[in-house]
Amino acid sequence: MLTKEQEMALIAGRIAQEMKDGYAVNLGIGYPTAIPNHLPKNVHVMIHSENGIVGMGPRPKTGEEDPDMINAGGASITAMKGASYVDSAASFAIIRGGHLSMTVLGALQVDQEGSIANWMIPGKFTPGMGGAMDLAVGAKQVVAALKHVDKDGKSKVVKKCDLPLTGYKSLTLIVTDMAFMRVTEKGLVLEEVAYWTNVDEVIKNTEAKLILPDKIGTFHLPE
């Protein structure tokens, strides 16, 4: 079993490997927030936050917060050299217009067709979709980052989402604490399994049908 910190590092670290130098990316709340800590050397990305900044920097030191500088989760941020501010309409033109290389979204449920659900649980929880539906259709690559099973051991990687969708057939990659999976026209391909588990365990914990290539890799905790 992984600790919470290991789980975060494992998922964020693996997704960070997909980032290429010069990418413009939008990172959602939860696992995605840890990605900048794990970027490979010489990979520099411009982080877009939908509240209106391109070129978001790390959190400021305590005492150096600026009331006019927050990210889409409301946390204090700084700006990188080369950053720019935009209004909300322009910020979503960036998203919808295909100007982001990648977005990474937290998810409640994903399916083998690449659909993602992350904005409500009927009767329980309706926070709203925020900017996630626009990100799901607009970014060139859409990555879901989530735990593979829920607290009752039920798979969150399913045949067909039964929770209300955020994006229909919009995912490129699904990365969990157990597996690295690619959405293809033929179906969901299990490309890698996490170092702490194995292919049989992943299959046992996945409701979706997985395509198993001849060679399945392993991903590890970042160094």
Partner: protein, 231 residues
């Protein structure tokens, strides 16, 4: 020329049932004095258009705590317990919009457009709530414009014409909201002489702005407190 008035005078213009567009993103760039004056006036059954309901008891969140809102067109309600419970008990009607579609609906309202077509929401409940149209073999959702009776925006600086500049991420939806209401009020930290802002730096031209309200002086700590998520 935009007329300089007080927050109290602004609140007195708002009638029961009016629709107000608010520029704010989780309390950053919220017109705090206008919100406080509206809470004090106690005007009921307001319709609100904003990115979210802000935090509990902060930003426009205060208007939900005081039970003054009847309907909200927003994209997120995850940070305001008062609005969540009013929504659950059906006292509050919420129309959830994808944030980009909401912004573009307001932009369309301000730009004289009859609507626009977007792929956002296809295959989701949003599609069930809207008309769809096919263009060149691709399905889109028809989103209609939104306008308000009032827009309450927050800017860093105004000159006497009403030209506005903003500060960093507190810009957010403010320039969009400023285009789409019958009466636009800008709360600003500073009012300067006309000509003192370089035209290159102006984000909202003064022709959009009807009234200016000068913000109360607040310390840095007070301003930080205003945007902090309540524990």
């Amino acid at each position: 020329m935009a007329k300089v008035i007080t927050a109290k005078e602004v609140a007195a213009m708002v009638k029961e049932g009016d629709k107000i567009l608010f520029g704010t993103f989780l309390c950053a760039g919220a017109a705090q004095d206008l919100i406080d004056a509206l809470v004090e006036a106690g005007t009921k059954n307001l319709q609100i258009v904003a990115i979210s309901t802000d935090w509990d008891g902060k930003g426009i969140g205060k208007l939900f705590n005081s039970g003054q809102v009847k309907r909200a067109q927003i994209s997120w309600n995850g940070g305001n317990k008062a609005a969540q419970s009013q929504y659950a008990s059906k006292e509050l009607d919420i129309e959830f919009n994808p944030q980009g579609s909401l912004m573009e609906r307001i932009r369309a309202g301000g730009a004289g457009l009859g609507g626009f077509l977007t792929p956002t929401g296809i295959g989701t409940v949003i599609e069930e709530q809207r008309e769809t149209l096919e263009v060149d073999g691709k399905k889109f959702i028809l989103e209609k414009p939104i306008r308000g009776d009032f827009a309450f925006v927050k800017a860093a600086k105004a000159d006497k014409v009403g030209n506005l500049t903003y500060s960093k991420t507190s810009r957010n939806s403010n320039p969009v909201m400023a285009t789409a209401a019958d009466v636009v009020i800008a709360e600003v930290d500073e009012i300067v002489e006309t000509g003192d802002i370089d035209p290159e730096d102006i984000i909202t031209p003064g022709l959009f702005v009807d009234y200016i309200v000068k913000s109360k002086k607040r310390t840095h700590e007070e301003r930080i407190e205003m945007i902090k998520r309540p524990q």
